[in-house]
């Protein structure tokens, strides 16, 4: 797998907000059908790094490659053009419109006369929701009235409907109960089988360790290290998150404590 061209490669990414280096010289990659967990404390720079990939933030330095070719990602539209879809921690739904309008927001289906084809869009929404959340019936209500799990499935539906090749999930299970969390895990395995590359962002290692092929740990805006989940234990990864200490099974990054790396 390592020999193939990665689906996405971010090289030496940096971004600063008013003199604070939120992300510094961070590099990571993702292959087809791979799940990479991006771990770290709150404020470690995980979400910021991933928002650069999804086009929400503009990077100060560094390059992004998609399928080995340099990609110009300056806004969310650019990212979507490369098949990079994101499920944000806040879900980023327009609360006052219904599930259909949210699913197709920015990519509406149009009739031959150039008007919104609401009926066709609702029909498609019913299809995709039947797959994700068969009991979902509230197609006519604004999403603000839906439950947390229902809102989550709308956000997921939006991300996978348009043939995503790279899926970014920012704390996908933070607001969910155990049953819904299990559903999301099943979905991740399913999408992985379909060959989609997935970034899972979490501050809780237990959520993602079993799902992920690799983990990338960040601390203070820098990458501590990268490791295959089979080469390290949960405790070792915890050490990376808390202390920035890179265990023998991991490849150290610029953020690793030098003594530990030696």
């Amino acid at each position: 797998m390592e020999k193939k061209t990665p689906l996405v490669e971010m090289k030496n990414i940096s971004i600063a907000f008013g003199g604070i280096h939120a992300v510094e010289d961070a590099s990571l990659d993702l292959h087809e059908g791979e799940v990479v967990a991006l771990l770290g404390h709150n404020g470690a720079g995980k979400s910021t790094l991933i928002k650069i990939l999804s086009g929400a933030y503009k990077r100060d330095n560094g390059k992004i490659f998609v399928n080995g070719e340099e990609a110009q990602i300056n806004n969310p539209r650019d990212a979507k053009k490369y098949g990079i879809e994101t499920i944000y921690q806040t879900l980023a739904l327009a609360d006052n419109v219904d599930a259909t309008a949210n699913l197709f927001l920015g990519r509406e289906l149009m009739t031959p006369w150039g008007t919104l084809d609401d009926v066709a869009m609702e029909s498609e929404t019913r299809k995709v929701m039947a797959r994700l959340n068969p009991r979902f019936q509230r197609f006519k209500e604004p999403v603000s009235r839906l439950s947390g799990g229902q809102r989550q499935s709308v956000a997921i539906a939006r991300a996978i409907y348009f043939d995503a090749r790279v899926l970014i999930m920012d704390e996908p299970t933070a607001a969910l109960g155990p049953q819904e969390t299990a559903q999301v895990s099943d979905l991740v395995r399913q999408l992985k089988k379909d060959g989609i590359g997935i970034f899972l962002i979490s501050h809780d290692i237990h959520d993602v360790f079993d799902l992920a092929d690799r983990v990338v740990v960040m601390k203070n805006g820098q990458v501590v290290g990268t490791a295959h989940t089979k080469d390290v234990t949960e405790d070792e990864v915890l050490g990376m998150i808390i202390l920035g200490k890179c265990p023998p099974g991991a490849i150290p990054g610029p953020g690793a404590i030098q003594a530990a790396a030696a």
Binding site: S54, A56, N75, P76, R77, K80, T86, Y88, T90, L91, A92, L93, A94, D95, N96, V97, D98, A101, L105, G106, R107, E108, M110, G114, T115, L116, D118, V119, A120, E122, S123, K140, E141, P142, S144, R145
Partner: protein
């Protein structure tokens, strides 16, 4: 499928209660808010009718009411989109005055010198100049709001002073009159109405359009196997819709021209006036037609186009809209361009009706327009509002004003009442939203 506010209608509330009213509302998918507002309008009308000793619900008063509401109604359709995106436009009254002066000077001074007095293209060119000025001013304000990040409240508060000053500047405060005879038709009056025959024809066309809309909507739903409205509900909606249209036409057609104008018209056309007097009906006034046309186009824009969808999405969650790949700044700038164009149309109506352009024209209109939109169900919290609601709100505001004039209420007291009504309406709306949510 339909309006945003109809989607926001409380279907959850009626889930447990299955009384006849709840079942009726569910079957017809009518918005309870809109019904409430229409109910309030009916109460106000009947109240004024009784208090004024039968002066309010007469063809003459209702016809005048429709003409007087037109200018505010046109602007309120744009204000809905502005407020839905959590912005505000305080400059529309002043801008109306400024555009009125420009349009007035264009047709009373420049164009006659250029084309000759009474040239048939004068009114078209004057209107085009007004619309272009409206679009440019709206675009300028929109650019400052959307791209330079100055709050809309401040930009348009500045605009309120700037454009009023500019209106004065055009002629150093001198009133411009008279307007081009064809241009004056936009303002109404006996000549500025389309007469009985055309009113009936138009009414029937509108009825056919309503029926066609119901039929095609049903066909679409069946095609995709969505739940259908019961047939009786479809029939009811069609019947009430057509009834309202034809009723309005009948009222406009039972308001005759004043006797003096009939006499002049008869002399000019060599018609002998019979003993009982000649009955020539006004029919629907042109400004009302303009307002209805604007309402239909704006409803179409708000509900059936990408732009409209984005406006509501931005109002619900601007960050989410941005992340979904919408160019939110450009959308907001376009809203203000649209608002400027609508202000130009409203300005043409009011200038034509006055047959003059004055630099005080449109003073305080911004407040009436905002009040119409808000009373019509546009939430200042953003994301919710309908064009039709705002237009009904405009009629409601004008009804209050007209009714109080009929009752001989002093102007200061009129202002007090309008102010109180606005506050109470928004308060009721807040209660309604809490109950629904």
């Amino acid at each position: 499928m339909t309006d945003m506010a109809i989607q926001a209608a409380p279907q959850g509330a009626s889930a447990s209660a299955t009384g006849p009213v709840a079942r009726f509302l569910k079957a017809t998918e009518l918005d309870t808010r809109m019904l409430g507002m229409l109910g309030a309008l009916v109460v106000i009308w009947i109240g004024f009718h009784l208090l004024s000793g039968g002066l309010f619900l007469t063809p003459r008063n209702l016809w005048n009411l429709s003409v007087q509401s037109a200018s505010i109604a046109v602007m309120s359709t744009g204000m809905v989109l502005v407020i839905v995106t959590r912005n505000i436009d305080l400059s529309v009254g002043s801008l109306l005055g400024f555009i009125g002066m420009i349009v007035g000077v264009t047709q009373a001074q420049y164009l006659p010198e250029l084309l000759g007095f009474g040239h048939p293209m004068i009114w078209v060119l004057a209107l085009v100049v007004g619309i272009v000025v409206g679009a440019i001013v709206g675009g300028l304000q929109g650019y400052i709001i959307a791209f330079l990040g100055v709050p809309a409240f401040i930009v348009t508060l500045g605009g309120l002073l700037v454009w009023r000053g500019a209106a004065w500047w055009v002629t150093s405060g001198r009133t411009v009159a008279p307007m081009d005879p064809t241009f004056r038709l936009i303002g109404g009056g006996p000549e500025g109405a389309i007469g009985a025959t055309w009113s009936w024809i138009l009414g029937i066309i509108l009825c056919l359009a309503i029926i066609a809309m119901l039929v095609s909507g049903r066909k679409q739903r069946r095609k995709f196997n969505f739940p259908l409205r019961p047939l009786w509900a479809e029939g009811f909606l069609g019947f009430v819709g057509c009834g309202l249209v034809l009723g309005a036409v009948a009222i406009a057609n039972s308001y005759p021209w004043p006797r003096g104008i009939v006499r002049r018209y008869a002399e000019a056309n060599n018609i002998a006036i019979p003993d009982g007097g000649l009955f020539i009906a006004h029919g629907i006034a042109i400004p009302v037609l303009v307002a209805i046309g604007v309402g239909i186009v704006m409803t179409f824009i708000a509900t059936r186009t990408r732009f409209g969808r984005y406006v509501f999405a931005i109002g619900g969650n601007q960050e989410a809209a941005e992340l979904a790949g919408i160019n939110t700044r450009w959308v907001i700038m376009k809203i203000f361009i649209l608002m400027g164009i609508l202000t130009a149309i409203a300005s043409a109506i009011s200038t034509a009706r006055l047959n003059a352009a004055t630099n005080a024209q449109g003073t305080l209109d911004e407040l009436l327009v905002i009040a119409a939109a808000v009373i019509g169900g546009t939430s200042l919290g953003g994301g919710v509002g309908t064009i039709a609601g705002a237009m009904i709100g405009a009629v409601l505001m004008q009804s209050l004003a007209t009714g109080m004039i009929l009752l001989g209420v002093d102007t200061p007291l009129q202002n007090i009442v309008v102010g109180l009504v606005l506050v109470v309406a928004v308060w009721l709306d807040t209660i309604y939203r809490k109950r629904v949510a």
